[in-house]
């Protein structure tokens, strides 16, 4: 049985204020067309949007910054984050990053940041047009991978404890916490089902008969790759926006000798896998396009036991060529 507490909005503010003193709070806030993670400060602690759907940035933007020094004098500095309002799709991406940057040669920068940060997730209430967690076996509310999860039920909030560190966050607030009653549980359940219904409806025309892996893996020679790659301008937005993409380059082109930088790379770039002498194993665009789908639905699954797509829809939202992964996969069916 999970621990769930009800808390009033005024008490929630008290909690927030307390956390503000201890962590770098990052929360989704309204931006011109959606939500973006920004720092919460004592002056804007009202501006966190914990409902709606996922923010523009995936968590890798903070856990694995786009460009950072990985070897040299300053490598190794990191700052603890408390992420607020993280959605289920983004939590789902973290095990892949954890495994990729763990293993035989653990990346201490990522590992330290990850170990120090806290995650207070929240339920989706209004999925974006591009959301499709439900198609990849996900759901629009977190069920694991958080320290605390937050759901909004009318005028109160429900806090679910997901870890000891999450419980620690509530320490000293026992009197303002009330165990969630049956009525609240039922309301929560109803609200979640309603969001699931919305995601399903959004994706009714993309329903497929098999898993994405079963559709992609045997179709190396399909026409679908060239067809859907036609409008691709190779900007790499799909890669950079993806919560599980984590390919990087290393670079020593700095003013200081023996300082190494790591930056996000994108397998859609034509130079991505080019070796000295100019050879590329994927010289043509449709090959790179296909590789991305094979990576998401086969290679990452083989490597880390989980497909590399969480249905967050950022690759669709960010695509200038209006390429929709759901449509490409549907075409394979």
């Amino acid at each position: 049985m999970t621990e769930k507490y009800q808390i009033g909005k005024e008490q929630w503010k008290v909690l927030l204020k307390e956390w503000l003193g201890r962590y770098t709070l990052l929360a989704p806030q309204k931006e011109h067309r959606g939500l973006g993670y920004q720092k919460l400060t004592p002056d804007n602690d009202d501006s966190a949007v914990l409902v709606l759907a996922r923010a523009a940035q995936p968590l890798k933007a903070f856990l694995l910054p786009p460009l950072e020094e990985v070897a040299g004098e300053t490598a190794g500095t990191s700052k603890p984050y408390l992420f607020l309002g993280v959605k289920a799709c983004d939590l789902q991406a973290l095990p892949i990053l954890d495994r990729a940057f763990g293993g035989d040669f653990p990346d201490s920068l990522y590992q330290n940041r990850r170990a120090e940060s806290l995650i207070v997730s929240s339920d989706c209430t209004e999925p974006w047009e591009t959301c499709f967690c439900e198609l990849v076996g996900g759901q629009p509310y977190p069920s694991r991978g958080f320290d605390l999860n937050l759901s909004e039920i009318e005028e109160s909030l429900v806090l679910e404890v997901g870890s000891d560190r999450g419980k620690e966050l509530l320490k000293g607030h026992a009197e303002s916490l009330k165990e969630a009653d049956k009525k609240t549980e039922q309301a929560l359940d109803k609200k979640r089902k309603e969001t699931v219904r919305k995601v399903k409806q959004l994706n009714s025309k993309f329903k497929i008969s098999k898993s994405q892996r079963e559709l992609v893996a045997p179709q190396w020679d399909s026409e679908v790759w060239s067809k859907h790659a036609e409008t691709c301008v190779e900007c790499g937005a799909c890669n950079h926006a993806c919560p599980t993409c984590h390919c990087y380059f290393l670079d020593d082109v700095t003013r200081r000798a023996f300082v190494k930088l790591r930056g996000w790379d994108a397998c859609m770039y034509s130079g991505y896998a080019v070796t000295a002498g100019g050879h590329s194993p994927r010289a043509r665009l449709h090959q790179r396009f296909r590789n991305r789908y094979f990576c998401k639905f086969k290679y990452l699954d083989d490597n880390y036991g989980q497909i590399g797509c969480t249905g967050c829809g950022r690759c669709i939202e960010g695509c200038q060529g209006l390429i929709d992964m759901r449509a490409a996969i549907k075409d394979l069916d």
């Binding site: 070897a71 023996f258 190494k260 000295a276 100019g278 994927r282």
Partner: protein
């Protein structure tokens, strides 16, 4: 906080000597700050300060970790800058990475090395290891092909190796001085005798040569399980993270670089 060693931090290595091999290939003799222990077939990431990093397999014996040799072709941005460096300059080196050659699997067998161009450097490290326990192998045969006689590396050692193993050379384009085989390295396979039942083959070279070399070996009746490939791909990290070197679900850097061909047999993009 830094409980783990930083996976990306190279140690420093002084260039002790530079041996010109051919017009575009030099051997760099390095003395790393700390002994660099490796198995033959494993590779290191070499850093040219302020320029970049690249994966290279040492060409020196793996039982001499204090002194490393890397034979490197001037082929791109990083290697062109490396070629401009002088004796006494300092490079970075990290590793070793990858699996290396499974020498135990070669014991009691005839070992055929099919080597093209700058595949010789890693093959030389392998050769040193094979020769060190020569009696464990029935026979060691090496077929080495270069583009022209001028492109042959380790010319100063060829005769020495010829005394120790069965060595065949070919060049794609001969000149007046050349009195050995002319043609791509795979033609040498028609000249050798090998007992397929108890032979293993190791293929190292440029991608196109590896493809046709492997196909010819299979054609001659080699079991895919007896053909070992030392693969090359773009690599940044060397530690199975950056994903640039992948062929299907394999990390060439971590699961390889040495693969048995049967691991690749059914993959669509092995040779791309």
């Amino acid at each position: 906080m830094e409980s783990q060693a930083n996976a990306y931090q190279p140690q420093k290595a002084v260039i002790e000597k530079i041996i010109p091999e051919t017009e575009g290939i030099k051997t760099f003799v390095l003395r790393p700050e700390n002994p660099f222990s490796f198995h033959c077939g494993q590779f290191a990431e070499l850093t040219v300060p302020r320029v970049g990093e690249g994966p290279f397999a040492p060409s020196s014996p793996c039982f001499e970790p204090e002194r490393l040799e890397f034979t490197i072709q001037n082929a791109g941005y990083m290697t062109s800058r490396l070629h401009r460096m002088k004796e006494g300059d300092v490079l970075g080196v990290r590793g070793p990475y990858g699996n290396g050659f499974p020498l135990q699997d070669f014991y009691g067998k005839e070992v055929l090395l099919l080597i093209g161009g700058v595949g010789f450097p890693p093959a030389r490290a392998l050769l040193y290891s094979l020769l060190r326990e020569k009696t464990r192998f029935k026979k060691i045969v090496m077929c080495y092909g270069a583009r022209t006689p001028g492109d042959i590396v380790y010319k100063y050692q060829i005769e020495k190796f010829r005394n120790e193993i069965e060595l065949h050379l070919s060049v794609d384009r001969a000149d007046a001085s050349w009195n050995q085989t002319e043609g791509v390295v795979t033609v040498l396979l028609d000249k050798i005798e090998i007992n397929l039942k108890e032979a293993v083959a190791v293929v190292i070279g440029p991608p196109i040569m590896m493809k046709y070399g492997t196909l010819k070996l299979l054609n001659k009746g080699f079991n895919p399980k007896a053909v070992y490939l030392s693969m090359e791909r773009k690599m940044y990290c060397g530690i199975g993270q950056c994903r640039h070197c992948m062929i299907d679900s394999y990390f060439i850097c971590k699961d390889g670089p040495v693969f048995r061909f049967d691991q690749f047999k059914n993959l669509p993009d092995t040779w791309e």
